[in-house]
């Protein structure tokens, strides 16, 4: 709360320093006998505001980040030696209790007196720290603004100054993409490494058994749990292949029809309508798969004398296929359109029919690009979550029969992480190991696909 107050006060102060800087530059220009300023008055204002804002916001952020550990060390050092001698986990629990009490999230029930006293200490320290924080941040803001105001002279190149700062900001904004990737890789890798300390990598990569639910309590018999990821991989691939079996023929043929045969008008109407399929949220597809398609397939199978699981891979794959139709369609469309007309005209001029031209000339020429597009679609299918969470099963069965229930990598990540979690159990960490695999598999597919598509485009440009 104090952070938000401090932030708002800071913003208000920056507005004030903007006006101060602007007025001051105008005044100086006037008193110096109309000596013209290098920059517009508002640039001096911006400069003052930036000097007030940037150092103090940095202090505010760093302080907020360090605050909890400062409070922690101070409170823990005030505890009795017996308590401090507890193991890290127990001390953490003890501290969490008194912290939630201090923040009025729980009542004093079940707390000992030392904890209540420490909680009081906690409150005092956090209050005084918050107070100090606001003071320090404001002092920094005032100092920054004063420094900037004092530097205002007609010869000061305020505009260049401000523009330089802005350029740096622009750079930082674009660098966020790199930081995000770094954040993903590090967070997933870090937890995955902890997982591999508990479970050997080879067990994970080559194991044929997946039953993480066994590992909930460590004192149970057979509590080790088994973390072989092969059944998940096979399940994921099975569903993705079913999806591609739907999406590739339909998407590719639609793209061919729309780009080679259809009239302009038909195309202008049809394409956006089919692209609606891409805009439907995945949770809607999941609902459709679980409540409409799966029961339908089950009944259909029963009427033909087949036993179909109620959460069959077929249902999930089918609906996922529908979802990626527009994806395959627009990618193939781009690629077919990039094939030069001279190739088509040459073939047609030799007397080939339209379909012969497409099959023997256009498609072979477009093949690398189409393969790239299919790889991109496959990476979509592998990373898709909601459809499989809602329509695929939970039990990891090693099978390639699409009528049975299988589970996928994403389903397992969701089931392992939703709900109560203890952060050190291999069960929770396994989700991050799966995330690592998912990230790198999709990354690899994307890199290969983009490379293929780009190579192909260059060929005709």
């Amino acid at each position: 709360m104090q952070t938000i107050t401090a932030f708002l006060v800071l913003i208000a102060f920056c507005v004030v320093s903007f006006f101060l800087g602007r007025t001051r530059s105008q005044l100086i220009a006037k008193t110096r006998g109309g000596a013209s300023l290098h920059s517009l008055p508002k640039h001096y204002g911006y400069m003052a505001a930036a000097w007030a804002f940037l150092p103090s916001i940095a202090i505010l952020l760093v302080w907020t980040g360090l605050e909890s550990s400062l409070i922690y060390s101070s409170v823990v050092s005030g505890l009795t030696p017996e308590v401090r001698a507890l193991s890290t986990d127990q001390l953490g629990l003890y501290y969490n209790q008194l912290q939630s009490f201090a923040l009025n999230q729980i009542d004093e029930f079940g707390l000992d007196e030392a904890q209540i006293a420490a909680a009081q200490h906690y409150r005092e320290i956090s209050a005084s720290l918050a107070y100090k924080k606001i003071i320090v941040v404001l002092v920094a803001a005032v100092a920054g603004a004063l420094l900037a105001l004092r530097r205002i002279k007609p010869t000061l190149r305020a505009r260049n100054h401000v523009e330089n700062m802005l350029e740096w900001m622009l750079f930082i904004c674009s660098f966020i993409a790199v930081l995000t990737t770094l954040g993903i890789v590090l967070s997933v890798l870090f937890e995955a490494v902890r997982f591999f300390q508990a479970v050997p990598v080879t067990d994970f990569l080559f194991g044929l058994q997946w039953s993480p639910q066994m590992a909930i309590r460590s004192d149970q018999v057979g509590a080790a749990g088994s973390f072989g990821f092969i059944p998940l991989l096979v399940g994921t691939l099975l569903i993705s292949i079913v999806a591609l079996f739907i999406a590739v023929p339909v998407g590719l043929m639609s793209a061919i029809y729309l780009s080679e045969y259809a009239s302009r008008r038909f195309r202008a109407v049809t394409k956006p309508v089919l692209e609606v399929l891409a805009g439907v949220p995945t949770v809607v597809y999941g609902f459709f798969a679980a409540l409409t398609v799966a029961p339908f397939i089950r009944r259909l199978g029963e009427s033909m004398g087949l036993s179909v699981a109620s959460e069959s891979a077929l249902a999930a794959g089918l609906v996922m296929g529908i979802m990626i139709i527009p994806f395959v369609m627009s990618l193939s469309d781009d690629i077919i359109n990039a094939v030069p007309d001279s190739l088509r005209e040459a073939s047609l001029g030799m007397g080939a029919t339209m379909s012969e031209t497409i099959r023997r000339v256009v498609l072979p020429a477009a093949l690398p690009g189409i393969v790239g597009g299919i790889l991109l679609a496959a990476s979509r299918a592998i990373g898709e979550t909601m459809i499989v969470v809602m329509a695929a099963g939970l039990s990891a069965k090693l099978t390639i029969n699409p009528l049975e229930a299988v589970t996928t990598i994403t389903v397992q990540i969701v089931t392992l992480l939703v709900g109560d979690q203890e952060f050190d159990s291999p069960k929770t960490l396994a989700a991050f190991a799966l995330g690592l695999v998912l990230f790198f598999v999709t990354l690899l597919l994307n890199i290969v696909a983009l490379y293929v598509v780009r190579r192909y485009r260059e060929q005709y440009e």
């Binding site: 980040g65 909890s68 622009l170 904004c173 674009s174 660098f175 966020i176 993409a177 995000t180 990737t181 954040g183 993903i184 967070s187 997933v188 339909v250 590719l252 043929m253 639609s254 029809y257 080679e260 259809a262 049809t270 309508v273 089919l274 399929l277 805009g279 439907v280 949220p281 949770v283 809607v284 597809y285 609902f287 459709f288 409409t292 139709i325 527009p326 369609m329 029919t353 339209m354 379909s355 012969e356 099959r359 990476s379 592998i382 990373g383 898709e384 979550t385 909601m386 969470v389 809602m390 994403t410 990540i413 992480l417 939703v418 995330g435 998912l438 990230f439 999709t442 990354l443 994307n446």
Partner: protein, 429 residues
């Protein structure tokens, strides 16, 4: 001889031509079938949801002659308004129902009788009496909200032909409901609860307001982060970035992030924002940050395209009259590129609105009854609410799920229509 051979060749060619033309027609037909298949899938999906969801927008009410008897309310002689708020309205409803059907005496049957009326009816009675204490001791005909199962029967969704054991609405209940309907004591009304309430365990009391507000807060955070950062990044990459390794690295990263599965962003949010920075779980703040990181690539890529499309003459004219590079961009390039940038941002926001998986990771799957009051309150969003309801086996919730999907789709269609409108206007220039 020669002409004979010619004749044969012509015959051969004509025969093969017939085949080739047939093949051509078939190929064309496959293409049309593929387009048609896409249409059929879309139609089935939408029809399924609309058919399932439309009934959820109405609810049945049952007219009950309620006897606000002081004894059955459990009120003392001189009651205060606090007593009124705590009185036993459930007992009043039960008594009134028994009076309407006096021949019901077995306990199990009584319980079935009580199940005709929603639990929420107690609260609406309480509000009525608290607002008008003079009602105590009087009899009134009051429309009470029906239980979702009763409503479902009255809407004709329960086939009487199925075995009694397999349906939730039993034969006796059907008889009672039929009797009520014949007396004109049932009425179908527009379901306002659905838009004004939070989640509930009872389908007839569940609504999407909390989820809608949660979605709004989440999108607000997403927009406040993703839009400025995305546009600034696009400006840098289009106008300032020198051609070097670092720029290449940034570009490769943006392209790859666009294809990273959304659930991985959820893992990032869980590990970094919740476990490391200790931001609150289930909060729109964290959800918004995660979705912002997810939509950033979309916004950057479309903004770059929009900036690229600005004619160089505008650039050069501004530079020529002495504007600095930044002034050129902020005063001249950006306003021209803005419709395109907005189009991309709206599409990115629409993606974020429909996203579910990363939000499951950061704990936005809680059962939320209260409308969140800020970005740090526990909240859920519309797609997650759909996910939660879809898991519920009750028929009433299936209906609610489809209705919530219709609301979500309506929002998405509106956003996309806005994007298309902007794009059209942009193209005309």
């Amino acid at each position: 001889m020669n002409s004979n051979e010619d004749y044969r060749t012509t015959a051969l060619i004509q025969a093969s031509l017939r085949k080739r033309y047939a093949r051509e027609r078939r190929f064309r037909l496959y293409g049309m079938l593929a387009v048609l298949a896409g249409f059929v899938f879309l139609f089935l999906l939408l029809a399924d949801i609309i058919i399932k969801g439309t009934p959820a927008f109405t609810q049945h009410y049952i007219k009950v002659t309620v006897d606000f008897d002081r004894d059955s309310l459990g009120l003392p002689q001189n009651f205060t308004s606090e007593d009124l708020a705590r009185a036993d309205y459930g007992a009043v409803i039960k008594r009134s129902l028994r009076e309407m059907f006096p021949d019901v005496s077995i306990r199990a049957e009584k319980r079935r009788l009580y199940r005709l009326i929603s639990i929420g009816a107690e609260y609406s009675l309480r509000d009525m009496v608290v607002a008008d204490p003079a009602l105590v001791g009087k009899k009134r005909n009051i429309w009470l909200l029906a239980h979702s199962e009763a409503s479902s029967y009255l809407k004709g969704q329960v086939a009487a032909a199925t075995e009694e054991a397999e349906r939730k609405v039993k034969d006796v209940q059907m008889r009672w409901l039929n009797a009520l309907r014949e007396e004109g004591r049932t009425e179908l009304r527009f379901n306002t609860t659905f838009f004004l309430a939070g989640d509930s365990r009872e389908p007839e009391l569940a609504g999407i307001k909390a989820a809608l507000v949660g979605s709004l807060y989440t999108l607000l955070v997403t927009f406040c982060l993703a839009f400025p950062i995305g546009v600034m990044a696009a400006i840098y990459l289009e106008e300032f970035a020198p051609r070097n390794r670092l720029t290449d690295l940034i570009e490769i990263n943006i392209n790859n992030l666009a294809a990273v599965p959304s659930i991985v962003f959820g893992l990032l949010g869980l590990a970094v924002f919740i476990n490391f920075f200790e931001l609150p779980r289930s909060a729109p703040l964290v959800g918004g940050i995660v979705l912002a990181l997810m939509t950033l690539p979309t916004i950057i890529i479309t903004s770059r395209a929009a900036i690229q499309a600005v004619p160089p003459s505008i650039h050069e004219a501004a530079l020529g009259v002495g504007a600095s590079k930044l002034q050129t961009i902020l005063h001249h390039v950006l306003p021209v590129a803005m419709p395109g940038i907005l189009t991309g941002s709206i599409i990115g926001m629409a993606q974020a609105l429909g996203e579910t998986a990363p939000l499951l990771m950061i704990g936005m799957v809680a059962f939320i009854m209260e409308v969140p009051a800020g970005v740090t309150d526990p909240a859920t969003v519309l797609p997650v609410q759909i996910f939660l309801w879809a898991d519920s086996p009750e028929r009433g919730f299936t209906e609610k799920t489809s209705a919530a999907i219709m609301v979500l789709m309506a929002f998405l269609i509106m956003m996309n229509a806005a994007a298309v409108y902007l794009r059209r206007r942009f193209e005309r220039k």
